[in-house]
């Protein structure tokens, strides 16, 4: 292992990077564009659900319930039709998501202590959002009818059990707070993989690899030198992503900066080595680019747990996700940003990142060692 040769490769790669200003600008603009795009587009918050209310009862009780819906930030009442036809039409044309039908006798039922029932007509074509909407509507109706029953039947009795939830770490339950840290991890995975995925294939395509192979340069030196150069770019990208997360999306940062830096370095190392591994297996840049995209984009988005919980996936996918480094980095970033926990709570994820980095470094070095002019 020669430090001088490693450094010569490092310097050479920096020359390449700075010479190709367009690619560099793209590499630096990518995290900004992707974070803004996905950060805003990937809002999982369900509120202001468009709704129609068909009030068949038309009593003070039913009007009171309607006011509960109007007062909630989860619903926006778009009108009060006098029949089902309008509700059906609007659901078909996707102008509303839910129709609330208050049946005749709702007020009487409440009055007599039987508890009121309400019909909900929901557009199930977006099952996720409609389930959330049903949940919100049910809780409003149940809360209202429970209060009404207590008020009407046994004024002196203590209220029924009232569970109060307190959400930790993301108390406002805003999705951006957990989407953005995860997104940073996924974006860095895609970017870092891209940065290095061309670097060996380019040497082959330009014919410069043959010259390199005729020198005493060792595979590990080539790997480390190239990695180090793109590591610099990766760190700048990380800083950009972090700043956008904190400033534009105002995601809270409660953890240790040191842990953040350490885990980012570990993650970048692994993914950059992965890119080189991909590159060493390709003889053209196009092939390397496609392999790089395929192996970072899809696993990054789908198997990192940044939006889609890994625990609920099929067993096979869960097993595959073990080798997706973004999975560990997503967990670390969410913890560091939102929970403010120290090293002690995330050391296992760090160990996985370190294992991944070491393994891929070894694989990439081995792949480079076997490179011969064909």
């Amino acid at each position: 292992m020669s430090f001088r040769r490693t450094r010569a490769v490092f310097v050479k790669e920096l020359h390449h990077i700075t010479r190709d200003s367009r690619s560099l600008a793209l590499a630096l603009a990518m995290p900004v564009m992707m974070l803004l795009l996905y950060g805003y587009a990937l809002s999982l918050d369900v509120d202001h659900i468009p709704a129609l209310v068909y009030d068949q009862d038309n009593t003070s009780a039913s009007r009171d319930l309607i006011r509960q819906f109007e007062g909630s930030r989860f619903f926006t009442i778009r009108g009060f039709p006098a029949g089902y036809r309008q509700i059906e039409h609007d659901i078909n044309f996707s102008t509303i998501l839910i129709g609330i039908v208050i049946p005749r006798g709702f007020g009487d039922d409440l009055q007599s202590g039987r508890g009121g029932e309400v019909q909900l007509l929901v557009d199930g074509s977006d099952s996720n959002t409609s389930a959330i909407a049903i949940g919100y509507a049910e809780s409003i109706v149940q809360g209202y009818s429970a209060r009404a029953r207590v008020r009407n039947v046994t004024p002196a009795a203590p209220p029924p059990v009232d569970a109060r939830m307190r959400v930790w770490y993301n108390s406002s339950l805003e999705s951006k707070n957990y989407v953005v840290p995860g997104l940073i991890a996924v974006i860095l995975m895609i970017l870092a993989g891209q940065l290095t995925s061309l670097t060996i294939a380019r040497e082959w395509e330009m014919g410069t690899m043959e010259q390199l192979l005729s020198t005493p340069l060792r595979p590990a030196e080539m790997l480390l030198g190239k990695m180090a150069a793109y590591f610099v770019v990766g760190l700048v990208d990380s800083a950009i992503a972090l700043i956008i997360g904190l400033v534009v999306f105002t995601v809270p940062f409660r953890g240790s900066f040191l842990v953040l830096v350490a885990s980012t370095c570990l993650f970048l190392f692994g993914v950059l080595c992965w890119g080189i591994f991909i590159s060493a297996g390709s003889r053209t840049q196009v092939e390397a680019y496609q392999m790089g995209m395929l192996s970072t984009f899809l696993p990054g988005f789908l198997m990192s747990g940044f939006v889609f919980a890994i625990d609920t996936m099929p067993k096979l996918i869960q097993v595959i996700s073990v080798v997706v480094p973004a999975r560990y980095f997503v967990a670390i970033l969410k913890s560091v940003f939102l929970k403010g926990v120290g090293m002690s709570a995330i050391w296992d994820q760090m160990v996985f990142l370190a294992i991944f980095g070491g393994l891929v470094f070894w694989l990439a070095a081995r792949k480079l060692r076997n490179q011969k002019v064909a």
Partner: protein, 313 residues
């Protein structure tokens, strides 16, 4: 240490069924300019790549300075400079950045680095263009820079794979001056080319054809080797009719147009020359010149390769 810079013993490289290099055995002495000739696809580049350790031979042995290429490739690479057929420096780096990079690759000691760099720049006459992007240089300059980069670590043996292909004749001349200069300072040079005139500059030559070395020796040895036949130079007033007439003369093996005249390969030069003279006189063709000449290397190689082809057919 023996006096050999390079030894190849029964080197074989096959790609599937195709045998690109077929039992090549060579020895090159220190300080020699060893020319490696042959048509395209003869296996020259493949052989050079095996000697440099860029390709693993299917079988056989290659020693550089007595070191087995297969056993200690790194030590071997420290001892050699390689210039590939295709330009293989970085176009997006400046002249100086390329030199610095390869100085780092070859581990040129710090105290000698500047001196070697200036030497390479001066040799390539690129001193004034040191800050120019390599991609902006023309072919000849690039080749000289590539040579400069290949000798930064002052390697005892230098492999040049068709260094002058695609370079104009003047630059080729300059290039061969550089090669001779390096040889004079004790460097061994293994150079492949398909320019026959360049073969004359080499101390020794190997002719490769279809993966095999079919001739080996100094240029003058090779010229005299074609002992079975002799070559006559024949200039006449009617070259085309002369050719037709020669077909009927016994002892004539082959006739080829060469410049304004003919090269006639014959069995028994004196007797055949006499028969040719009689035949042409009878046909009323004027003979301007008819004499026995020493074949050029090109004649030798062309006839050798044709002989090989005939044997294979």
């Amino acid at each position: 240490m023996n006096g050999l810079a390079l030894q190849a013993r029964d080197l074989v490289k096959s790609f599937g069924d195709f045998v690109a290099v077929d039992h090549v055995t060579l020895e090159v002495a220190r300080g020699e300019i060893f020319g490696f000739l042959g048509p395209n696809g003869a296996g020259k580049s493949t052989t050079i790549r095996m000697l440099c350790g860029l390709l693993t031979p299917t079988s056989g042995l290659a020693l550089i300075n007595g070191i087995d290429v297969a056993k200690d490739p790194e030590e071997v690479r420290r001892n050699l400079g390689y210039m590939s057929q295709k330009f293989s420096l970085y176009d997006d780096l400046t002249v100086e950045q390329n030199i610095d990079f390869f100085a780092g690759m070859y581990g040129v000691p710090r105290d000698r680095r500047n001196q070697r760099k200036e030497y390479a720049l001066e040799m390539a006459r690129l001193g004034e263009r040191r800050a120019a992007l390599t991609g902006s240089l023309s072919g000849g300059w690039k080749q000289r820079l590539a040579l400069g980069c290949a000798i930064l670590h002052d390697p005892p043996i230098l492999f040049l794979d068709e260094p002058t292909s695609g370079v104009d004749p003047i630059v080729r001349g300059v290039f061969w001056d550089l090669i001779r200069g390096l040889s004079a300072t004790g460097h061994t040079i293994f150079v492949s080319t398909h320019y026959m005139d360049e073969a004359e500059y080499c101390h020794r030559l190997a002719l490769m054809h279809r993966g095999k070395v079919i001739a080996l020796g100094t240029p003058s040895e090779l010229r005299h080797k074609q002992s079975a036949h002799s070559l006559l130079r024949l200039d006449s007033s009617e070259p085309l009719e002369t050719m037709r007439a020669l077909e009927q003369v016994s002892g004539v093996v082959d006739v080829a147009v060469f410049g304004g005249g003919l090269h006639v390969t014959v069995d028994d030069p004196d007797a055949t020359a006499e028969r040719i003279r009689q035949k042409l006189t009878a046909a009323a063709i004027d003979i301007h010149r008819l004499e026995k000449i020493l074949p050029s290397l090109e004649d030798v190689f062309v006839s050798m390769i044709e002989g090989e082809e005939r044997r294979a057919a």
